[in-house]
């Protein structure tokens, strides 16, 4: 059973994305902000994190940085999700340690493709 951690502050997005992903066979755990996301990641050790970048308080960049800084969670792939589409965001996301990047509104098929690719890569390693 693959567990995904969805860090997203928007309740509707969180709800819809988690339900869509669960329909595709993933177990989805959720966090509402960066701090909670980092904590959940450390406690539950999901297979992959979907990280919204524009979060209140600790933002997605910082949360990703922390996840990647902690040896316990460093190997968990992080896919950045953002409504912002500026290239600078994309670069900043990769700089923070994100493994992939997708824009909202998520094209579910594409997002799942990216998730599977990352998980397979991880298993392959």
């Amino acid at each position: 059973m693959t567990t995904l951690l969805l860090v997203e502050d928007n309740e509707m997005n969180r709800d819809a994305i988690s339900r869509l992903l669960e329909r595709r066979g993933f177990t989805v755990i959720m966090a509402e902000d960066g701090e909670e996301g980092v904590r959940a990641c450390k406690e539950r050790l999901p297979d992959l994190v979907l990280m919204d970048l524009g979060l209140p308080g600790m933002d997605g960049f910082e949360a990703t940085r922390r996840i990647k800084a902690d040896p316990a969670t460093a190997r968990i792939p992080v896919v950045a999700l953002t409504a912002r589409v500026l290239t600078s965001d994309q670069e900043a996301a990769f700089a923070a340690g994100c493994d992939d990047y997708d824009t909202k509104p998520a094209d579910l098929a594409r997002l799942v493709g990216k998730i599977r690719a990352l998980l397979e890569g991880k298993e392959g390693r």
Partner: protein
């Protein structure tokens, strides 16, 4: 004689005076000689006539006296009669013949003469061989011819008399000629002097163009006087016109100066407007970026939930609503693509669109897009074909943007073509530059076509070929505009060939290799030299502002160098060592802050004061980075000159005090000075000028002489008495004709030059000013280092 005469008169070097003299003397002499000759001839004629008459009457007397002896052939008696002729010294010969024609007697006796003549000839007197001869018949008292008489008289007296008369005439000629010569010489002046005067004046006018000169008037009414008067009248008219022209010129110069000022201010206004437009454009872009972000969040939810509902209803058997949900989702995605387009456009406009350099396999990319568009083509019953040239290979470009551009072209073709054919042709060609191949992707359709008039508008944002197409085909009209902007960003373009009703061909033309982004800032060259008093360096990417500002500064006499970007600015800074740098903040590639940092990091350049030009209130940042000052755009001329003053760059040439009571001429002078970089300030009379001197020492004084209150002379006297002021050079500008005494007065007051109002050109004025100041400087230096 005639030719000599003519030569003399026509000789180019013969003066008019000589000619007149020659004419007068020559003609007088000729008249006198002719008169004398006539007199002599007449005299001769009269005297010969008298001689002839005398001889004739002598012959008459003798013939009567010899009548008796001849009658009796008494030779002795007739000899007695003839002897009486001795008293007549001039009778050289006398002969008496008898009736038969034989010589009876002769006087003098020895004369060899014809011994016989034919008697009965008529009485006559004739001239022969320089003598007068007379023959006379001798009658008896009864009237019978008894013989004839022959007399001959010499004319020795006549020659003597002629010689005497000639001598007399020569004497008279000389006596008359000398006074004529003398008087002629004197009176020739009457004619030649005005002519010469006229000639002198005309020559002077032609040489000096001084139309105030006048020929001396002749107090008479002859042609010369008329000529002189006409000439003077002509000069007066020329002078008047000249003055009017000069006035007009000055007026024009004033107008030009005013126009220039207007232009500069209009330029400034334009700058302001442009800055405002830029600012609002940037605000618009920022707004669009924000809006699209805000729009995406709810749209995200819509899309996600509609997908969720679709999936759940597929499972739950609610097929009835499936189609509706599909529509919601399709519309949502359409809305998303529109928002993306808007965002892309605003990014391009804000200059924030970045390009990736992907290695692209050309053919798979095209096939992939065609695959995506396939369903769209099928919707309108179109067939979609690809004609790709072999070996298209790879290219380096932004794959997303190439894909999106092609997708837009194809979806447009599908949209505007019903039951037709859409052909994609891909090939490489050297149409753009001969040295390299470019990728051409042509999308050809058999659709409705585009009229030439529509073709000019079709690439504009928010414009479709026709307004009605929006209703019929949907869309915002952003796709084409965006595709073209993408292709242009990638170094290429989109071309269009179309005619109404004949389909369209949109061709993407792209370079196979995307150009590298602009190079990094090169390290500034180090040229060891002290921060100099060089020109003012303007660094701004806006050519309009560069132009306006550099002209403004040049007008104030500053030397100006311009750089169009930061890199050029740095290069010029180390090359020219400017005295001041005016640096724009917002520039593409290398912005003002970077340039400022580079300047301050260079020990050779860090001493140059830098004034930042900015629309943003980032003064603090500038000052922290080492800027000496900042000016907000649009640049205010007063603020600019204040800033320049702080760096001692105000009016590098110095200030001029203009003392004139006539405000108009004062302003004219000051404008002329300003145009040459001289700042000036006015004083209305000598008293005011002295007050001004106490406050500021000018580099030069322009001084009118005739002023109410204290006039120029008194002012000069006061000025010269003050040792502080004595060295300030003065140029007198006056309308007045100066007397010798006044000139001397001015000379003693060390006046550098005197310009007659209305008689000098602007260039002369400025030249005099410059000369006077230079002399003043030389004088000061001498004073400082004796």
């Amino acid at each position: 004689m005639r030719s000599v005469f003519r030569k003399l008169l026509a000789h180019p070097k013969t003066s008019l005076r000589r000619k007149v003299m020659f004419l007068v003397i020559g003609l007088t002499a000729m008249a006198l000689v002719l008169g004398a000759t006539a007199f002599l001839t007449f005299e001769d004629f009269v005297s010969r006539k008298a001689d002839a008459r005398a001889l004739s009457s002598l012959a008459e007397i003798i013939s009567v006296n010899v009548a008796l002896p001849v009658t009796f052939d008494d030779a002795g008696a007739s000899v007695e009669v003839l002897k009486g002729l001795k008293a007549h010294g001039h009778i050289t010969e006398a002969r008496v013949y008898n009736a038969t024609g034989a010589l009876l007697t002769s006087y003098p006796a020895l004369a060899a003469a014809p011994s016989r003549i034919r008697v009965g000839q008529e009485d006559r007197v004739w001239f022969e061989a320089g003598r007068i001869r007379a023959s006379k018949r001798i009658y008896t008292p009864e009237g019978r011819i008894v013989g004839s008489l022959f007399l001959e008289m010499d004319q020795a007296d006549r020659g003597k008399k002629m010689a005497f008369t000639t001598l007399f005439l020569v004497a008279v000629l000389t006596l008359v000629g000398l006074p004529v010569w003398f008087l002629g010489r004197r009176w020739a002046h009457v004619i030649t002097a005005p002519v010469r005067d006229l000639a002198d004046v005309a020559f002077a006018v032609s040489q000096t163009a001084d139309f105030s000169l006048r020929a001396r008037e002749v107090p008479s009414k002859d042609e010369l006087a008329v000529l002189v008067r006409a000439f003077n009248g002509m000069l007066a008219r020329i002078q008047e016109q000249d003055e009017r022209l000069e006035d007009h010129r000055w007026q024009l110069e004033g107008q030009v100066a005013a126009r220039t000022a207007e232009l500069v201010s209009a330029n400034n206004e334009l700058l302001v407007a442009k800055e405002r437009a830029d600012v609002s454009n940037k605000a618009k872009s920022a707004f669009l970026a924000n809006m699209s972000h805000e729009l995406r969040t709810p749209l995200n939810a819509i899309l996600l939930y509609s997908e969720l509902i679709r999936e759940e209803s597929e499972e739950g058997g609610h097929e009835g609503i499936l189609a509706d949900i599909q529509r919601i989702e399709t519309s949502g995605r359409h809305l998303l693509s529109l928002i993306n387009d808007v965002l892309d456009l605003s990014k391009i406009e804000a200059g924030k669109m970045t390009l990736n350099r992907d290695s692209i396999d050309i053919l798979p990319l095209i096939e992939d897009v065609i695959g995506t568009v396939g369903p769209l083509a099928a919707q309108n019953g179109n067939t979609l074909e690809l004609e790709a040239a072999p070996a298209l290979g790879t290219m380096v470009s932004d794959a997303t943007k190439v894909r999106q551009s092609l997708f837009n072209l194809l979806s447009n073709a599908c949209k505007f073509t019903q039951h037709g054919r859409i052909t994609v042709r891909a090939f490489l060609a050297r149409t753009e530059r001969p040295e390299e191949e470019w990728l051409h992707i042509a999308v050809e359709d058999t659709g409705i076509g585009i009229s030439p008039e529509q073709q000019t508008r079709i690439f504009h944002e928010f414009i479709q070929a026709q307004e009605s197409t929006t209703r019929q085909y949907g869309g915002t009209g952003l796709g084409l505009a965006l595709s073209r902007r993408f292709c242009q960003l990638l170094g290429g373009d989109i071309r269009l060939h179309s005619a109404l009703g004949q389909g369209s061909v949109f061709t993407m033309v792209l370079p196979l290799t995307l150009q590298e982004p602009a190079p990094e800032l090169p390290p500034p060259e180090k040229v060891p030299s002290s921060p100099g008093q060089g020109p003012i360096l303007l660094v701004d990417d806006d050519p309009f502002l560069l132009n306006a500002l550099s002209r403004l500064l040049a007008l104030d006499g500053h030397q100006v160098a311009v750089a169009h970007d930061g890199i050029e600015g740095l290069r010029l800074a180390s090359e020219l060592r400017p005295g001041l740098i005016l640096l724009d903040v917002m520039m593409p590639q290398v912005d003002g802050w970077t340039v400022l940092k580079a300047l301050k990091a260079d020990p050779d350049l860090e001493g140059i004061p830098v004034v930042m030009l900015t629309i943003l209130e980032e003064a603090e940042k500038g000052l922290a980075l080492g800027a000496a000052d900042y000016l907000f755009k649009p640049i205010d001329r007063v603020r600019l000159s204040e800033a320049l003053k702080r760096f001692r760059l105000d009016h590098p040439l110095g200030r001029v005090l203009v003392v004139d009571d006539d405000v108009e001429s004062q302003q004219l002078l000051r404008r002329s000075l300003l145009a040459e970089g001289w700042d000036s300030w006015p004083a209305l009379d000598g008293r005011a000028a002295l007050d001004q001197l106490r406050q500021e020492k000018p580099r030069l004084i322009l001084l009118d002489l005739l002023m109410p209150g204290m006039d120029g002379f008194s002012f000069l006297a006061e000025k010269q008495q003050n040792p502080d002021w004595a060295a300030i050079p003065v140029i007198v500008v006056t309308a007045r004709d100066l007397s010798a005494k006044e000139r001397e007065q001015l000379r003693q007051a060390q006046v550098a030059a005197v310009l007659q109002k209305g008689m000098y050109t602007k260039i002369e004025l400025v030249e005099e000013v410059r000369r006077a100041v230079n002399r003043g400087l030389a004088g000061n230096r001498k004073g400082a280092h004796p």
